[in-house]
Symmetry: D2
Subunit: 169 residues, 4 copies
């Protein structure tokens, strides 16, 4: 079996992504690469770009699944680009391409990915103190069905360690 | 221009849909039909079925956009069936097919539809006291961007009146 | 069971659609409406528009499944608009929404819809002497598997009669 | 720019894939890997599996874009799996993920991918004497618009050489 673990990093896109978010995303991407997993992202700006850059600089493989139909719309740190041409509906495809998910901040698009991941029973961790959806749902259940708890973690290192544990559990 | 207003009703599917939810959904569907709008739903059970039935009994037109690729999977109150064969990803298509959305209870699938609707700037109302996502987000914003408030309403009649106002505003 | 028969009409879009194609598409739409079936199309110009207009003028119901995410992109003869936001990938959704398909001329998009319809085992008829894909595949099999023959017919009236026979067979 | 050239290999799935097809697909995958390009396929059996295996044995990177929502449905020679959960509609996503396409035999699914690729103006080559769609369309145009000729080639080596020329032209 050739397939590597695929870890999806989601969160703030360009709007609202601070230098601190970028630093956390970069370190998360690097940690994923060091763990020999593949970094999957939405392939655009903000957390997506910073995580991809972190993974590339640590020698990893990166995949960007983008809303547009032109591969050139992806950021320059994606080895492999999957142009879906499906607009925001691509948020469901990113979730499906994940063995596990790490959340850093995030708005409505991030929440859509979390919903998709939940429906497909994917493990999720949220890095605390990053605001947005990560903050709102860390250590909580997404809905009244209480099926999958989104585990709150304190650092990129803990995030990758925890998600790999959950994936292989 | 032939196009009618298309109102999407979302909420509890079979799991967790009580007789009270069904009554509210039925009345919402009937009210939509009386307003000469088209009832759009996810075409399956629970709130989707009850709303479609309400619309049909009031002489309206109903559309069911389903996850499966076989039209026969839709409930028997759908005049027109759109089988997407896309699984839960169809939640994004239901949102795109709405001019406005009415929320009755609901779990993770409903929340995904709300996220999609929000990203596409669709007006939304939530019927209060129906639990789930409707309750959690009534009179709130979905995320930190505070772009579209989900308006809380008290009854099916108020829901349809309000959503038609928001659509034509 | 509320569901009506849904007949998809596909073929030349604006490019290459002659007055003769429009006349044939208009009559096909009208014939579908008179048969109490729903006319489904890709919702844009050319054969799609002419067939929708024919169905509307004969008092029928029309559905347009469009590539864009804005309903206003559909032609003005669609009662119900399904905006997919999926670009040309919507050609697979139009095929899935058909109980049977009528082909009038057509290019690569039409052929994609024919492939999708074939894979989902939908009956198809092609109006002869309309050029393009209809001409190329009338009374032929799509591929070497020889599963579904695309039946050649001579007129809109024969097309609708034949496709309804095949659907209910 | 990190992105590598992504070459999609399409053709006979399990049904109809002979030992000769497998040999040609294996060599095509190996040639892609030696050219430092990424092998993209539909991730299942037949030509898809043989090409992925060829690329893996030559040290390349392989991507499988599959119809199912479970990554485990992909063949064991895919490094990266994109589960779309979209059934046959995934044929459009494979085409979008290609910078260029190589066709080996093939039936209706292959033809759907060719249509999608054509609509998105992707270069294509067909290996002659492999039957099916490759044979039917080698050195021909897909439709009456005559926009992109599918170039016929005689061997896996020539196929990869030619497609890389066309991609960078």
């Amino acid at each position: 079996m050739a397939k590597k673990q695929q870890i999806l990093v989601i969160g703030h896109d360009n709007a609202g992504c601070t230098a601190e978010h970028e630093k956390i995303a970069f370190e998360t991407g690097a940690e994923i690469a060091k763990s020999n997993a593949v970094l999957v992202s939405g392939g655009l700006k903000g957390v997506m770009l910073a995580a991809s850059r972190g993974a590339k600089e640590a020698g990893g493989i990166t995949v960007g699944i983008i809303p547009q139909d032109e591969p050139s719309e992806a950021n320059e740190f994606c080895d492999i680009v999957i142009p879906t041409g499906m607009g925001m509906t691509r948020d469901f495809l990113t979730a499906l391409s994940a063995d596990g998910i790490i959340i850093i901040g995030g708005g409505s698009g991030t929440l859509a990915e979390v919903c998709a991941a939940y429906m497909h029973k994917k493990p999720m961790v949220a890095i605390k103190n990053t605001g947005g959806i990560a903050e709102q749902y860390a250590d909580k259940f997404l809905d009244h069905r209480n099926r999958i708890k989104i585990i709150g973690v304190d650092s990129p290192q803990e995030a990758v360690k925890k998600i790999l544990e959950l994936i292989t559990a």
